[in-house]
């Protein structure tokens, strides 16, 4: 059996520094791309930067014209009068402005590409064993993965890479999904049920499976992920489009301002040079946000991918920022998923320690999380040591069964281990003692059956009810033993163990944080309303849906949406699919079924239900970064006016120098400083654009006040300082022209 195995490098996205922001190789590639993007056909997609590019071309032509028409001897250096040099300097800095913006975008794309490259390697060289029939025994042929079509059946054996997305229709296998999720622990994939979906590019470690291919080449998970991180098929998101409209109209306004300024200048006495006009225009139009806008978008998607979330559209990422209501499954999300023993409640006349000991014995061999938690609690509470475990040797574990609804232990011999063995017929002998734990009704019946009475029946019932009401599960413990010569069997209830749903640590704080973000959390659970209410209260969620069914979930989402709210939810099962599709943001677990994944608009590769909170934060961060840089960009213009207007009219109206409040050295240096600042600020803000403005869950008012202070007020002040510093530097270097 030939198999082409492939070394898939594990790719852990969450690891710090996996794809560093400023990896030299990415920077080098981005520099090249920055020039490539100067192609006007490409540049026109960004109207703001296109205007700058046109300005650069015009000033370059103007420079050449000045160079050629300048009077004087033929030797070129002497032709470089101050004016000519000034035009050259402005022209160069305008080119830099375009290049910087292109570089920002290329950097964002580059980081995505680096990630895509790793993925692509997994895709290209996989070979598949295509089966004629969907049977293990059927003959197969080896074909390259891209040749597979939807509906093909492939056999994947230990060591093989799964050639495409699909569903396991036969077999069970351990699969290494680290290439997709970064999680190295293998997962089980088997036919039927909720663990049947497999992803192309992952590797089978043991056994074999037959997979029905679910996607044509180019449509697989891996393909979508590659496209996404590369930004290749990136479509502008609604909010980005709206912002682009605003930026375009601001650009038109400033174009009008600058174009009309020339007639006004002519009216006033003398025209302003084309170079100064273009410099003014470029400084005024929102180049900062215009240059960084697409980088912000790409980086936002990238951040999502870094957290192992795959968004099917940018729209979903933005929608995540708008979420008003979060539907979270109780089990595994809000609670640990396993109930834990928290208390022993002995009946009157029973020592708590005796109850604990009995419970411990009954659970020693119980490998369920509940069982282990009982052991742990008993040991912790009463320091019951290892010696008890010795009893095991002469006892038999009675596992839980659906019939008896209880589990426990039969002690076959006395503590000294003699009684039973002395008789020499160990197997047949009735146990000297039995311990049972289980649901109240089952245990009561058991005690009754073994000759016990229901002495404290009423108290027992009350205790059991109380525990249920508090959202916990009661587990009743009873024992039987034989006394006297005739080994008369006796039985009694010892008490109750409280098994509690343990709310995950920090959940209450998270929900509080969400509330401050303006997001209500609704817990979804199959529990009865009583239990659900208790857990909801403990976890600090705003509301709950008890005894949830797929229908009630869907209904809840629709109700919330009818009220104008945006709803997000997670899900993994096939029956979650309708609700996932209905939700504005539906996140499917990667471990979930194909149906759930198709219905969702995001997939969490880590299958971590609390990831939604991070997704919301990323969505908000994306919008905040755009808003902050837009505000900053517009606020910047104030200072630029004070730099350029007095300079532009320095000969017509020297009195306007009163507006030169920065005290810039010369008109030329004023214009140049503004242009240089305008270009450098793009570079300076690239890290911010890629990283995103930090989101703080402090409520809209304080958040706005904070961001306004930084980006609004800061946006007004920063250029005053920056332009002045550049002017000082130019003066120092005698470059004021």
């Amino acid at each position: 059996m030939s198999s082409h195995t492939l070394e898939v490098r594990p790719w852990k996205t969450r690891r710090k520094g996996a794809v560093s922001s400023f990896d030299p190789q990415i920077v080098r590639q981005a520099l090249l791309d920055a020039f490539r993007k100067l192609d006007p056909r490409w540049q026109i997609k960004n109207p703001v930067m296109f205007v700058v590019e046109v300005g650069s071309v015009i000033t370059t032509i103007e420079f050449v014209r000045l160079l050629l028409t300048a009077p004087g001897p033929a030797f070129p250096v002497t032709r470089l009068h101050n004016e000519t040099l000034f035009v050259l300097a402005v022209s160069l800095w305008l080119w830099f402005t375009v290049l910087f913006a292109n570089f920002a975008e290329a950097m964002a794309e580059g980081r995505g590409k680096a990630q895509a490259e790793t993925l692509r390697r997994a895709r290209t060289t996989t070979m598949a064993k295509r089966l004629r029939r969907p049977e293990r025994s059927a003959p197969w042929e080896e074909v390259p993965a891209p040749a597979l079509r939807k509906g093909d059946y492939v056999l994947v054996e230990a060591g093989d890479v799964i050639p495409g997305d699909g569903e396991v229709i036969e077999g069970v296998a351990a699969v290494d999904e680290s290439a997709i999720t970064g999680e190295s622990a293998p997962v089980i994939r088997e036919s039927g049920g909720d663990r049947s979906a497999v992803t192309g590019g992952t590797r089978v470690l043991s056994d074999w499976i037959i997979v029905r291919i679910g996607a044509n080449p180019g449509e697989t998970f891996l393909d979508r992920m590659i496209a996404l991180v590369e930004g290749a098929q990136r479509q502008k998101t609604p909010n980005e489009i709206a912002l682009n409209i605003l930026l375009a109209s601001l650009t038109i306004i400033f174009l009008l301002v600058v174009v009309s300024l020339e007639p006004f200048a002519i009216y006033s006495g003398s025209p302003v040079s084309i170079t100064t006009l273009i410099a003014l225009l470029v400084c005024l139009i929102p180049t900062t946000i215009g240059g960084l806008l697409s980088a912000i978008g790409i980086a936002g998607m990238d951040r999502l991918v870094q957290r192992n979330v795959l968004a099917m559209s940018g729209r979903a990422v933005e929608a995540a920022g708008d979420i008003d209501v979060l539907l979270l499954d109780k089990t595994g999300t809000i609670t640990l998923g396993n109930r834990q023993a928290t208390r022993f409640l002995p009946l009157p006349g029973i020592d708590e320690q005796a109850l604990a000991q009995a419970a411990l014995l009954a659970s020693l061999a119980d490998e369920t999380p509940e069982g282990r938690s009982i052991v742990a609690l008993a040991r912790e509470r009463f320091a019951i040591g290892e010696e008890v475990s010795l009893q095991q040797q002469a006892s038999r574990f009675v596992p839980f069964s659906a019939m008896t609804r209880m589990s426990g232990l039969d002690v076959l011999a006395d503590a000294d281990g003699q009684a039973a063995s002395a008789r020499g017929e160990e197997e047949a002998a009735p146990p000297v003692r039995t311990i049972r734990k289980g649901a109240a009704e089952a245990i009561i019946a058991y005690v009754h059956e073994h000759g016990g009475d229901n002495t404290h029946g009423e108290l027992l019932q009350r205790t059991v009810d109380e525990i249920a009401r508090a959202g916990s599960t009661p587990l009743v413990v009873a024992e039987t033993w034989r006394t006297g010569q005739d080994h008369q069997e006796q039985a009694r209830v010892l008490g109750v163990i409280e098994l509690k749903d343990i709310v995950k640590g920090g959940m209450r704080e998270r929900f509080e944080q969400l509330r401050r973000m303006g997001i209500r959390t609704i817990m979804i659970t199959g529990d009865n309303p009583l239990t659900a209410a208790a857990i909801a209260r403990e976890a600090g969620v705003d509301d709950f849906l008890a005894q949830a069914t797929p229908e009630t979930k869907l209904k809840l989402i629709r109700e919330q949406q009818a009220g104008g709210r945006m709803v997000a939810m997670t899900g993994d099962g096939t029956n979650d699919a309708p609700a996932l599709a209905q939700a504005d943001v539906g996140v499917a677990m990667n471990s979930g079924t194909q149906a759930a994944k198709e219905a969702a608009n995001m997939i969490d590769l880590d299958s971590n239900p609390t990831k939604l909170i991070e997704i919301v934060e990323i969505g908000k961060q994306l919008l905040i970064t755009r808003g902050a840089l837009t505000t900053f960009s517009i606020a910047n213009d104030v200072a630029k006016y004070f730099a350029i207007i007095p300079a532009a009219f320095s000969t017509t109206y020297p009195q306007l120098n009163a507006l030169n409040i920065m005290g810039l050295a010369t008109p030329h240096s004023a214009v140049l400083s503004a242009v240089i600042f305008n270009a450098l600020i793009i570079i300076a803000l690239i890290p911010l654009a890629l990283r995103g403005v930090k989101y703080r869950p402090i409520g809209a008012g304080p958040l706005l006040r904070r961001n306004l202070l930084i980006y609004g007020l800061g946006g007004i002040v920063a250029p005053f300082v920056g332009i002045k510093l550049i002017d000082l530097l130019l003066s120092l270097l005698h470059l004021t022209l």
Partner: protein, 578 residues
């Protein structure tokens, strides 16, 4: 430079009066536009029903935004044609005791456009040009209906914000009729008589001939002034019966009429802010806009008042006493009336340009450069400082939406205003509305400032002040204000045509995106507000809104103003004349 104590008291009292009028007027207008019964219903309801029946209007049938726009356009076109016809044929019609001839075609067109658009720019002297019939049936009529049109459109936009998951914005005919019958007409009937009691004339007499004590001959123009004067202010129209507008003693004879006129100019606009809050179910939303307007109003005064009270340094050098004292108002008195002095003149000017009124009680062309910059900038900011009846509200709402869109992103949600998401279409419409004024003002002014046809009209002033005049003309026309730097000879083919175009664009090209915006909003769901929602009521939003209005305005017009009023101010300080 001293602002007198009396100035502060006057301004404070004036603002207090505006504040006091806001809520009652707003409440009343809410009732009127919600179609509820008011205490005036017994009088006007039969008339209202008669009008609907006679015109074939079904008051219960509401329109989508497109229907609303078509109705508004058709109705305004009819009115514009009627006015043009009246002007051209007044010589054959009654009520023309001075036997004034027909108005020339271009001037008639400019005037028809001007009054239809609520601009009331006047390239003519009323007492020399318009017969009493034209003044009443043509101009007074338009004073009413252009105001009512503005109010109707504002209400339609507010409905777009207030309603959710709906289609209709209301019925234009009903909104227009109710605005006229229940709001404008009753106030005018009372207000006109109050003005008459103070000395505003109201007669159909021929002009009075007087032989003065000093042996001279004086012909005093007369007419049905009071009935037009009050609606001129109340409807933020501003077109004077006389050339001197509200500086004319027969239009504005006393400090009391001045106060009444200022209140008439600003109250409906202020009341509409409250009405807006009421209609969207949160009066704080209205008060937030009100507060922003009040801040801008005071800011304007803070620049203009010291500038005017400080006087003209060029005249001070000649030996003119411009100090305010108990014996004289002092300050820059060129173009101002003694009974109003500086404070009442500047207060009136700021009021008339904060709104889209354009009536003047002092002549702006003779204001100091900074004093003149304020009315210019007020109009350029979009007349949102309480603003024109209706137009102030929808202009302010556009800025609110722009503010929410730019800064609202910073709270990390898709921007929303009053629970409605501001998306591509809304931004598109707001951006279009935002673009119209710079395109018109800067475009036309640029052409006029270099073409001989434009420059030829600079017969009074030249230099930077001439540029200010040109800028003011198009700013005022596009803003549908109507006040002027009147030294520019506007009655030329070039200015009649371009001015009329600027007025029509400023009104209708602005209104269509506004209504489209309302039409797009009305169908949206309302997202309930929560702690994550951008708050649009608190001081933070108010200051942000003020900031956005000022910065957008400043960024658009600063270069032009630098070459007009700003450099003129600096030159004046340097002692230069032109």
């Amino acid at each position: 430079m001293s602002i007198t104590f009396n100035s502060f008291v006057q301004i404070a009292l004036f603002l207090a009066l505006v504040l006091a009028l806001t809520k009652p007027l707003g409440l009343y207008m809410t009732k009127v536009f919600n179609g509820e019964r008011t205490w005036l219903s017994p009088v006007f309801a039969p008339l209202e029903r008669f009008l609907y029946r006679a015109c074939g209007i079904d008051p219960a049938r509401e329109q989508r935004w497109t229907g609303y726009v078509i109705a508004m356009l058709v109705f305004n076109l009819a009115g514009m044609l009627l006015l043009y016809g009246l002007e051209r044929t007044q010589q054959w019609l009654p009520l023309n005791p001075q036997h004034l001839g027909p108005v020339e075609p271009q001037l008639a067109f400019n005037t028809a456009a001007s009054f239809t658009t609520n601009t009331n720019w006047q390239n003519y002297a009323g007492e020399q040009t318009m017969s009493y019939l034209t003044q009443m049936a043509g101009l007074t009529y338009h004073n009413f209906i252009s105001a009512a049109t503005g109010m109707a459109l504002a209400v339609a936009l507010v409905r777009g914000l207030a309603r959710h998951s709906a289609e209709h914005l209301g019925n234009f005919w009903v909104d227009l009729t109710r605005a006229t019958l229940y709001i404008l007409l009753p106030i005018c009937l009372v207000g006109a008589l109050v003005l008459v009691s103070q000395g505003v004339v109201q007669n159909f007499n021929p002009y009075t001939v007087v032989h003065t004590l000093d042996g001279g001959l004086q012909v005093i123009a007369q007419g049905p002034v009071a009935s037009q004067e009050i609606i001129k202010e109340l409807g933020t129209n501003g077109g004077g019966f006389f050339n001197a507008n509200s500086a004319h003693p027969y239009e504005n004879p006393t400090a009391l009429t001045n106060l009444i006129e200022m209140l008439a100019i600003i109250s409906i606009g202020a009341g509409m802010f409250y009405m807006f809050g009421r209609m969207v179910g949160n009066t704080r939303q209205g008060w937030a806009l009100w507060a922003a307007a009040a801040i801008l109003f005071v800011l304007g005064l803070a620049v203009a008042l010291p500038a005017e009270q400080g006087g003209n340094p060029l005249l001070a050098h000649l030996g003119v006493n411009q100090q305010a004292s108990a014996l004289q108002p002092g300050g820059n008195m060129e173009g101002k009336e003694v009974r109003f002095g500086i404070t009442d003149s500047v207060l009136f000017t700021v009021t008339t340009t904060a709104t889209s009124c354009g009536a003047v009680n002092s002549f702006l062309d003779s204001y100091t450069p900074l004093g003149g910059l304020v009315p210019l900038a007020n109009i350029a900011l979009g007349e949102v400082i309480f603003g024109g009846v209706g137009s102030g509200l929808y202009g302010m709402l556009m800025f609110a939406i722009l503010t929410v869109f730019i800064a609202g992103l910073m709270v990390g949600r898709t921007p929303e205003y009053l629970g409605k998401k501001i998306e591509r279409k809304e931004v598109m419409m707001a951006a279009l509305a935002l673009l119209i004024s710079p395109a018109t003002v800067l475009g036309f002014a640029a052409v006029a400032s270099v073409l001989p046809q434009g420059l030829a009209s600079l017969t009074t002033n030249t230099g930077p002040h001439g540029l200010s005049e040109i800028l003011y003309l198009y700013t005022s026309s596009n803003g549908n204000n109507g006040s002027a730097f009147a030294g520019l000879a506007g009655n030329t083919p070039f200015y009649n045509w371009t001015g009329a175009l600027a007025m029509l664009i400023g009104r209708f090209a602005f209104l269509i995106p506004i209504l489209a915006f309302g039409g797009s909003l009305v169908g949206k769901r309302v997202v309930p507000a929560g702690p994550g929602t951008f708050p649009t009521t608190g001081p933070l939003f108010v200051s942000l809104l003020v900031g956005v209005i000022l910065i957008v305005g400043a960024l658009t017009y600063f270069p032009a103003y630098a070459l007009g009023p700003i450099v003129e101010h600096l030159l004046m300080l340097a002692g230069r004349t032109f």
